[in-house]
């Protein structure tokens, strides 16, 4: 029991899921649904696909409940699955299939954000252009660099967690991030 008490809360919940407690799975889902969907959305840049992949992530978590062992942080494991699915989707070339709906979705999202902020038309246009450039700059990054930036910037994962999710060393993660931010600085410099 002492070992279980020392475990992080998510791992403890997952151990309860292993014992057949479905309410603990619901708690885990509520805690991590948002970050996983958002991470996948920024990786694949497609709303529908990101939710579909997120469903698969949680389905795999549920399927693995019987064999779950808390050897790493739960979020590390979760993002490892999410990264694996996102990279496979990108490598499978499905990106092109979803590209058509991408512009519309992004525009819709932009419009929602703009409406909420109640900006002027001119500000809206500037904002839209800037956001598009950010999205495109990220989209052009090599997939592993993109995944590293997403986990570092938006999910605030530690280097060690990113390393486990990407199946590489911490120094490799630092190099990935260094190169990624270097590229982003160069691509977004004209916007300053």
């Amino acid at each position: 029991m002492e070992a279980i008490a020392a475990l992080e809360r998510d791992a403890e919940l997952m151990l309860r899921v292993r014992e057949g407690d479905d309410r603990s799975f619901a708690t885990l889902l509520d805690r991590h649904r948002g970050p996983v969907v958002h991470f996948l959305y920024r990786m694949v840049q497609n709303d529908a696909v990101s939710e579909e992949l997120a469903q698969e992530v949680f389905l795999r978590v549920y399927r693995s409940r019987a064999t779950y062992e808390p050897t790493a942080k739960f979020t590390t494991w979760l993002f490892r699955i999410a990264t694996h699915l996102a990279l496979n989707w990108i490598r499978d070339g499905k990106k092109e299939k979803g590209q058509e709906s991408l512009s519309e979705e992004v525009l819709e999202g932009v419009q929602r954000q703009i409406a909420a902020a109640q900006q002027t038309v001119e500000q809206e246009l500037v904002y839209e252009v800037k956001l598009r450039e950010v999205r495109e700059a990220i989209g052009m990054l090599p997939e592993k660099q993109r995944a590293a930036v997403m986990m570092h910037k938006y999910e605030e994962l530690e280097y060690s967690q990113i390393a486990k999710a990407l199946n590489c060393s911490e120094s490799a993660v630092k190099s990935l991030l260094f190169r990624a931010y270097e590229t982003l600085r160069a691509r977004l410099a004209h916007m300053a």
Binding site: H38, L184, R185
Partner: protein, 163 residues
């Protein structure tokens, strides 16, 4: 402190500083350093700018029926016959994508090694005489028999020459 942009580790520290993820103790040192170092100051400013722009990209809200759809899938899976679960376990990739390449190479090497072992020519197959010579032992009786047979095959001396 020398300019941090001149080394990779130094630049990585600046990157963390510009992203606001450097621990406070170290951040104070960098605060002091960038006051007098133009190139470090520029790098930090550029990184802060990128960090801020990335922060503007908000993801859309998750669908309200996300949980319902997931639970429906789980229920469907639970209702499926046992053999389908078993099949899924077998058809699902056992290794993450990154491990497939080295695993495939290792499997190919193992297959090649097995193939070489199986098809390695045996000494007895290629040289039947070597079995007789094995251990330096020669069957004297067999040699004598062979010589006798050779004598039989030799043409008999002609009667004219005998005369």
């Amino acid at each position: 402190m020398e300019c941090l942009t001149s080394t990779k580790s130094g630049a990585e520290i600046l990157l963390e500083y510009g992203s606001g993820t450097l621990e406070p103790g170290k951040a104070v040192e960098i605060d002091r350093h960038i006051e007098n170092c133009e190139s470090c100051r520029r790098l930090v400013a550029a990184q802060r700018d990128v960090w801020e722009r990335l922060g503007q990209w908000t993801a859309p809200a998750v669908s309200t029926d996300f949980n319902a759809r997931l639970y429906a899938r789980i229920a469907k899976e639970n209702q499926a016959p046992r053999w389908r679960h078993w099949m899924q376990q077998w058809t699902r990739p056992a290794l993450p994508y990154a491990l497939w390449k080295p695993a495939a190479v290792a499997a190919a090497c193992a297959a090649l090694a097995v193939a070489l072992l199986v098809h390695e020519p045996r000494a007895t197959e290629t040289n039947p005489h070597s079995a007789q010579m094995e251990g330096g032992r020669v069957d004297i009786e067999q040699v004598a028999n062979t010589l006798d047979e050779m004598d039989v095959l030799m043409p008999a001396p002609s009667s004219s020459s005998a005369m």
